[in-house]
């Protein structure tokens, strides 16, 4: 059994004597006897380090990861490349093992990194205030809804159907708690269509690009919300923001999103981070940690956690949120990654995805039995309609070592013949050609099978 404990038997006796008790059991004498377990936990016996490694490696081997197949799965998390310097820096114990920086004098590294991260998010979103990150994307949408409720006290959210289904469901879960109704705004031709808003609407909630990969024209939607006195919340994929008009310029009040694609691994869904940026007027409504710049008693620059009166440990039941964690390590990976890309690199990366996605769209649309769902601008993800059962087509492609994408019917019954295909910088032209071939063969086989049955 692996042990991380130093205390020897002799030391334990010495320590018990110093405390003035006879045994370890005496330290638990205040627990009523009938509440004590009185047996060992029903867990397997402990193992040596190498045995644990072997077990965890065997479990890993039973997963088919993006290492094992050519994957076009996206739908909120993407197989993007994590540069080596990210691993190197975030594995340093000085970043990996401290707590939240409550003592700023010995936490300047983490605090300055938060400040740099906030700056990067502010630049991406075109909004002046970013927090130090929240759990992840979909729960950030729900947290943004709470900001709107606190800001204007209205009772309804209008949520675009193009918002990630997990975000819509998370918002519904939390909104029920804080007493808000949610209604859906439909998609028409792949984009959000907004009905007239009345003064009961607290916020409209959009996604850019939306779940189908389509770039929304956010500005007129945000203008309509502003007209009605409602906030606009927009969940964004950060890489396309390299090219798209930033949410702040579109009139968005709260921009949030999933940060995984910025230097974080897939990790079967987490941990990653959610980013969260707001207008200046919402500065005191934002949830979570914020790093701010100041000076020390000698006038030297330094950083602290600031505006803490918003938070639960001070404002308690009137806090702007119960959140007391940032995803500091994941956000650090994010700012290292963005620094590595740099100003021009970010744009080059987004343009590469744009071009390869355009190529993939063209290649797939040319396949017999495959057509584009909508003809709207996209950046890195798009939907196609298949003339054959989607799950069967996916299964056939997998046999060729290709994971062709996400079956939209799981979340959109009206799109049960559609597949969502994601392109990252790791998917080359050759990969895309293989996808097109595999899809062509799979669709043809499935159609034949259907024809025979008919």
């Amino acid at each position: 059994m692996t042990s991380y404990i130093s205390a020897t038997e002799a030391e334990r006796r010495e320590m018990l004597a110093a405390i003035g008790v006879g045994s370890i059991d005496d330290l638990f004498a205040d627990i009523p006897a009938q509440l004590r377990l009185g047996r060992a936990l029903a867990l397997d016996a402990g193992l040596s380090e190498q045995e644990v490694y072997d077990e965890l490696r065997a479990l890993a081997a039973r997963n088919v990861s993006a290492e094992d197949e050519v994957s076009f799965l996206g739908a909120g998390m993407y197989d993007s490349y994590v540069p080596a310097l990210v691993d190197s820096i975030i594995s340093r114990s000085e970043f990996l093992t401290p707590y939240t920086p409550y003592q700023p004098e010995i936490s300047q590294g983490g605090l300055q990194a938060m400040f740099e991260y906030q700056t990067a998010i502010s630049e991406l979103t075109g909004l002046p205030v970013s927090n130090a990150s929240v759990y992840e994307g979909p729960s950030a949408v729900a947290a943004a809804g709470y900001v709107a409720k606190l800001e204007n006290g209205r009772r309804r959210f209008i949520v675009a159907r193009g918002v990630h289904p997990h975000a819509r469901e998370t918002l519904a879960t939390l909104a029920k708690g804080y007493g808000m109704e949610t209604e859906e705004a439909p998609l028409r031709d792949g984009r959000t269509e907004l009905a007239p808003l009345d003064d009961s609407v607290s916020a409209i909630i959009l996604q850019q690009p939306n779940f189908l990969g389509v770039v929304e024209d956010v500005a007129p939607l945000a203008a309509a919300a502003r007209e009605a006195g409602a906030l606009t919340i927009c969940s964004c994929d950060p890489i396309p923001l390299a090219l798209l008009k930033p949410p702040g310029e579109c009139g968005v009040d709260v921009a949030v999103g999933e940060g995984q694609t910025l230097g974080n691994r897939l990790d079967f869904g987490g941990p990653s981070f959610g980013f969260f940026a707001v207008t200046q007027s919402l500065l005191r409504r934002i949830p979570g940690r914020i790093a701010g710049e100041t000076t020390d008693v000698e006038g030297r620059r330094g950083f602290v956690l600031t505006l803490q009166t918003r938070e639960q440990h001070i404002r308690r039941e009137r806090a702007t949120s119960n959140i007391c964690t940032s995803q500091a390590l994941n956000a650090l990976a994010g700012v290292i990654y963005l620094s590595w890309l740099g100003r021009r690199g970010l744009v080059e990366l987004a343009e590469l995805m744009l071009q390869r996605t355009a190529y993939a769209r063209e290649r797939l649309a040319a396949v017999e039995g495959v057509e584009l769902l909508v003809d709207q601008p996209v950046v890195r993800e798009f939907a196609v309609r298949l003339g054959a059962p989607v799950e069967s087509v996916i299964a056939r492609c997998r046999e060729e070592g290709i994971n062709p994408g996400y079956p939209l019917g799981r979340d959109y019954p009206e799109l049960d013949d559609c597949l969502l295909v994601a392109i990252t910088e790791r998917r080359t032209r050759a990969d895309i050609d293989r996808l097109a071939d595999a899809l062509a063969a799979a669709v043809a086989t499935e159609r034949e099978r259907l024809a025979v049955r008919a």
Binding site: R284, Q308, T309, I314, R315, R318
Partner: protein, 128 residues
């Protein structure tokens, strides 16, 4: 203001607020004791002009680095002026709580309510 002081021309509320009554209007602020207990004030949430406030109820908040405090209305009325200079310089509340650090001016709903407030001596007795 380093030394405690409680001017005689003011009326005091037990929640550490003062009122300077002038006919049917009054100026409100927080006492030396309140600003000292709070520490360095970093934010004053400006209430809305025209809002109706009710005696003994909170009408806004002041914040220090690690505390939030409700500000209680010593008298009822309508807000007719807000000290907007505190937006940029909330520390004025510490430096000059009875002068430049005033918070709001109010048109009183019922000037006779003032009879329930304390004078400086009575208020100081509650602090002892």
């Amino acid at each position: 203001m380093a030394e405690a002081s409680y001017p005689d021309d003011l009326l005091y509320h037990s929640e550490h607020d003062w009122a300077r009554v002038d006919g049917d209007t009054a100026t409100f602020g927080i006492t030396w004791y309140a600003q000292d207990a709070l520490g360095e004030v970093v934010f004053f949430e400006a209430p809305k002009l025209g809002a109706q406030i009710v005696k003994d109820e909170s009408y806004t908040e002041v914040e220090s680095v690690k505390a939030v405090s409700d500000v209680i209305a010593p008298l009822s009325g309508e807000i007719i002026e807000v000290n907007t200079a505190l937006g940029d310089q909330p520390e004025t509340i510490n430096e000059d709580p009875y002068g430049e650090g005033w918070l709001i001016k109010v048109k009183l709903a019922d000037p006779s309510e003032a009879e329930s407030l304390m004078d400086a001596a009575a208020y100081q007795a509650t602090l002892a």
